[in-house]
């Protein structure tokens, strides 16, 4: 496309902008059913609060998460994506999270290489007993995304 | 017409179950009127945003001024969706597209022989009803229609109650295999046509699955018909409906624009692509 070219100047500033008052980030958290989702439940039972911007999607194992799911979240306007699974060695399916670890390391490394702020992606190992860790991780992550502001480098302009 | 790719909104006002995998949808515009006028054999693009868009032949007769009907067989994303839709559903519609059976020229005053198989009756139904409504313009009408089973005969009710009741129309039904509760003819359409042995002065309108068209055409030629006497309609992947997107061609002809109705001698001059 040339005349209809996605005019670069029309794209909102791609560099991080200081977050304004009204900015509420959208955070997608993929949690494995056996550890991290249960950890989130435990955070709930313990009434350990974290921002409501965090939306959890349950998957059987962190290894179910296809990179396209993460990119899809960014496409549709997520500002940060976090993937939480059992601690390495504790996977309910014994080896799932080892694959997750490699996949996500490499995927996030590529996003970083392409200039997409690496702080917008994260992998965390949270066991079913770590409700407090779940809450503190989400608080921390949300705070980081807040300071990064709207994700402008990976979203789809048609969706925002 | 310029806004050719932008459809208008239509409403499904009625859904009739014809066979286990065919339903007939009645569509009108939002204003309750017919969306546009057409000629028998022409098609329209129906779509549901996000699901898909496809070309369907308009099965109701142009003489029907109230609504359009589409008989749709379940065979893909969009058709699956439509089959699960309920009355009141809005859809997008654009058209009419393509050419039509020469009802006002070549076919006029001729004896007509309609041969259809399965869902192939859909495009012919429009012509049949058009001819019924302008009965005096046409000669004798014979209809040979067959399907896999009795349950797979589309528009069975209309055939029995209206067409067969009309004078001057002979309807011959057949099904592929014996079935309980069926006293009619059993056998494939091409063979049935041969058995019936029509005069060769008729003009034939033929539609059905490719294999049936092939054998019926051969049968007709064996009976002494000329290819110039036989019309058929084609169906291919269509996107634009206006001969520009470039995918529905058979040789140099675009089915959506130069077709879907072809005379068999024209078709024969084209590369044997389908």
């Amino acid at each position: 496309m040339q005349i209809n070219e996605k005019d670069k100047s029309n794209r909102p500033n791609e560099n991080p902008v200081p977050s304004d008052e009204n900015f509420t980030p959208l955070i997608v958290a993929f949690c494995c059913n056996w550890c991290s989702y249960a950890g989130a439940d435990l955070a709930g039972s313990g009434r350990l609060s974290y921002p409501a911007e965090v939306k959890i999607i349950r998957v059987p194992c962190s290894c179910r998460v296809n990179p396209t799911f993460i990119l899809r979240a960014f496409q549709k306007g997520a500002d940060g994506v976090i993937l939480a699974g059992c601690h390495p060695g504790d996977c309910h399916y014994s080896t799932g999270n080892y694959f997750t670890r490699r996949r996500m390391t490499l995927l996030f490394s590529m996003l970083d290489y392409m200039g997409i702020e690496k702080e917008r992606t994260r992998v965390e190992w949270i066991s079913a007993a770590e409700g407090a860790k779940f809450a503190s991780t989400m608080n921390e992550f949300a705070e980081k995304i807040n300071s990064l502001g709207k994700c402008r480098r990976l979203g789809d302009l048609r969706c925002v | 017409m310029t806004e050719n790719l932008v459809p208008s909104v239509g409403v499904i006002t009625d859904i009739r179950i014809d066979t286990p995998d065919v339903k007939t949808f009645r569509v009108v515009g939002r204003d309750g009127k017919k969306c546009f006028s057409h000629m028998p054999g022409q098609c329209a693009m129906l779509s549901i945003p996000g699901i898909g868009e496809a070309m369907f032949s308009i099965t109701s007769s142009p003489t029907n001024n109230d609504f359009m009907e589409f008989s749709i067989k379940k065979c893909g994303c969009l058709t699956d969706w439509l089959h699960s839709a309920e009355a009141g559903q809005e859809i997008l519609i654009r058209g009419p597209y393509g050419n039509f059976f020469p009802v006002e020229s070549e076919l006029k005053n001729k004896d007509l022989l309609f041969i259809a198989g399965g869902i192939g009756l859909a495009p012919l139904r429009s012509v049949i009803n058009y001819c019924r409504d302008k009965r005096s313009d046409y000669g004798k009408i014979d209809i040979v229609y067959g399907s896999r089973s009795k349950d797979d005969l589309v528009d069975y009710g209309e055939i029995i109650n209206e067409w067969m009741a009309d004078g001057g129309i002979d309807v011959y039904l057949t099904i592929d295999r014996e079935q309980e509760g069926w006293n009619g003819h059993v056998g494939f359409v091409p063979n049935y046509v041969k058995e019936l042995g029509f005069n060769t002065d008729k003009t034939v309108l033929l539609c059905g699955p490719p294999i049936m068209i092939k054998f019926s055409l051969q049968g007709l030629i064996d009976m002494g018909f000329d290819k110039t006497q036989v019309y058929t309609t084609m169906e291919l992947r269509m996107k634009c409906g206006v001969g520009k997107c470039g995918r529905c061609n058979i040789g140099s002809k675009y089915v959506c624009k130069d077709g879907p109705v072809f005379r068999c001698d024209e078709l024969e001059a084209l590369p044997d692509e389908y």
């Binding site: - | 790719l5 065979c75 520009k244």
Partner: protein
Amino acid sequence: MYKIAYSEIYNLFDRIKDVITLFLPAKNDGAVSFSKYESGTRYEADALNTVRSAKDFFFPQTQNIAEFKISGKSIEILQNTEETGKFAVFGVRACDEKSFGILDRVFLSEPSDPYYNEKREKAVIITAACNYPEETCFCTAFGIDPSEPRGDVSTWVSEDFLYWKANTEKGEELTNKIADIFERCNDGEIISIKNNIKTAAEKLPFVSLNLDYWRNTGEKEIFASEKWESVYKGCLGCGTCTFVCPTCQCYDVRDFDSGKSVRKFRCWDSCMYSDFTKMAHGNPRKSQKERFRQRFMHKLKYFPENNGGIFSCVGCGRCLKSCPQSLNIIKVARSVAADD
């Protein structure tokens, strides 16, 4: 006819830019493409052809058509096409200019395509003669004269001057707005440039490309030729030739669900792609051979059949350069026509 010192060429561009949005060939990360001219943009005068052709201006890779909002059973249609402003394209070669005529036959035939038409009307085409045609050029085979490019304005370049000649009303209009930057001259000044180009063009390897076979043989016969079996083998089934081709015009109409609405757009498609004709219940063009054949049959037989013998090729040579596997229309045109 006007001329301007070649050293003043950027002043010319700046002038045009002030009057109308200007696009011209410029290098972007190693590939030359038509780019919007801003002060500082370097005109890539040496590049004979841009990687992609000028058809993009009228038939862009994606084109919004409409937008739909769905709630419950009802569908609402929203208009989402943007109006195009007037623009000029500088440096269009004779072949590309000729391709517009071919695309017009598709898009402007009834029913005329509104999106294409709008952009066509808004554009001022400023062509440039090809001083150094390349070995891949074979426009002359289609009766195109690289020394005599058409368009709304034609230009020629000598060592010292750029010559400017308006051919149409649109061209005149633009010329009048910037006429003060030029000096007048007469047509005779460019005769030697033209002759040089003609001499160079005569030496090109494919000037004598003979297409009589395609003109004189029936489509059914060519279609059934056994030659197709051997010519397509290297084809990857990619869309490179289609997308760089100035006359390829196949498109797809697709939906995109943004979550808020469904956007309907059309985008380039290629008959070389395996899913081009795929339907719910099968694909009539099953193998790459059939898809490959379709592309060349369309260019060399079907299109001429429907358009008074005009081939859907302008000899720009892009496919010769771009095909990853060195397949191209010349090889096909010759191999299928060959006697053996």
